[in-house]
């Protein structure tokens, strides 16, 4: 290191050092191409090689990306968890109405727009800046069928029930590794979600819980939906919880080669993912479910 520094100052001078630094940083770190201050947080758009990502700035050292886009192959779903969520199609390959809580970069609605153009997809996002950036940097396109509502997810669901609406598939994607909206992780909320599902409708929730919260979260979902199916990521800390407004969730997951082929361009390996779905209860069932009265989810997640 010392020698390196010596060479730098001796032969290259200060300008050379800067150039060197720039070269190194460009190679190792993602370049920030846009920064946005929203009312909730600072959002950063970064680019590294062919990957463009949206990140929420946190004080934590680990950087968690909210959404990523492969610039060379825009269809490809970069995250394993987004691919896992789409396994819901093996349960119901033709949902008419889909509700997504948490927009991110809009990669899920984009998949629906391509493979099920007639499906109505409503994405509910609390932060208007996320919607703006999804459209500008992540190719998120709104249309007659692809809609965005800027609202708190819980409020949207309560309002939708009052209006007598229903959805065939509800995707909860409002949780990230850093912060959990606690009012979206209670029995009351999940009961409302279930109420908004059509008969045999399916729920997929992307969750990142660890430590004590893992037990509490599992029990909370279980108390509302009875039977759960879990798709855990073998490497990342998250899991997808599948639950349905039905009698028996198992009988419903079907493998179908036509669907499998349709999902291939998005990097979704359907047989592999379906195979990974588990019904194993690997949590402490003696804890009490979280409720609107008691929901210290973030404190339990430490």
């Amino acid at each position: 290191m010392k020698i390196f520094k010596g060479i730098q100052t001796r032969f290259l001078g200060p300008l050379g050092s800067i150039l060197m630094l720039l070269l190194v940083s460009n190679h190792l770190y993602a370049k920030t191409i846009h920064k946005e201050r929203s009312i909730y947080r600072n959002i950063v758009i970064t680019e590294k090689k062919d990957r463009r990502c949206m990140r929420f700035e946190t004080r934590k050292r680990t950087k968690s990306n909210q959404a990523c886009l492969d610039l060379k192959n825009k269809d490809r779903l970069v995250f394993e968890y987004t691919r896992s969520i789409m396994v819901g199609l093996a349960y119901n390959p033709t949902p008419k109405r889909v509700l997504i809580i948490g927009l991110g970069g809009g990669s899920l609605p984009n998949v629906f727009a391509k493979i099920l153009p007639k499906t109505e997809v409503v994405s509910v996002e609390i932060d208007p800046a996320v919607q703006k950036l999804a459209k500008k940097y992540f190719d998120y396109k709104e249309s007659d069928t692809i809609k965005t509502v800027i609202q708190d997810g819980r409020v949207y669901i309560k309002r939708a029930i009052k209006k007598g609406q229903s959805f065939d598939w509800i995707i909860l994607d409002a949780f990230n590794g850093d912060y959990i909206p606690e009012h979206l992780l209670t029995t009351e909320f999940l009961a409302e979600t279930k109420q908004l599902l059509t008969k045999d409708g399916i729920l997929s929730a992307n969750t990142f819980s660890s430590s004590k919260l893992y037990d509490y979260e599992s029990v909370t979902y279980q108390s509302v939906f009875n039977s759960l199916r879990i798709l855990s990521s073998p490497t990342k800390g998250n899991r997808i919880i599948f639950a349905c407004n039905c009698e028996n969730i198992d009988s419903q997951f079907h493998l179908d080669s036509e669907l499998e082929n349709r999902l291939k361009p998005f990097a979704i390996d359907l047989p592999m993912l379906v195979d990974r779905i588990s019904d194993k209860i690997n949590w402490d069932t003696s804890v009490k479910p979280l409720t609107d009265q008691f929901s210290p989810a973030n404190l339990l997640n430490q």
């Binding site: 909730y40 609390i126 606690e182 009012h183 008691f294 339990l300």
Partner: protein, 205 residues
Amino acid sequence: MKKATVLSLAFCAGFSIMCFELIGGRLLRPFFGSSVYVWGSIITVFMLALSIGYLSGGRLSLYKANLTKYSFIFIFSAITIIPTILFSEPVMDWVFGLTEDPRYGSLTASAILFLIPTAIMGMIAPYSVRILTESKDSSGQTAGFLYFVSTFGSAIGTILTSFYLVLWLEINQVLWLTFAIMMIAGLIALAVSYWEAKQIHPGEI
């Protein structure tokens, strides 16, 4: 005796106000979400309530201020918390149906649920100053020390509620705790006021 009582009760009032405010945020969330304007509504209502409380507490202190009346403020504020505990759900449900605008929805619900108890709690600070003040010269110091004690109580109420109480208790249990603190504080003030009357006029009571 009287001074120590008033100061510790002012601490309790400061504590309860912030405890109530933080729990208020959690109470509204299922209906109005955790958007930035929900906290905006809550803080607006609490500030408004406290300003009304300061004004009317100061006014009330003009009319023969004594410890008995002081104790009634505590007891009365405790009683007004009860409807918030019992009827928060139907109230929020009703407001939810009333307007689709989540800003004015959360503002209306906050006003209905929190304005009255908080305004009454706000009366305590100026009334405490009146009871404690002995001379014009020391009035600034008295008020300053009282603000110190009650705001310190608020700080403790905030940290204890947000760090621990939400982990130990349900929302309604925290609200009942606030009720109990204000009620017991009021009863202590009442007891001290009787005890003092007895000291001054032994045999009359």
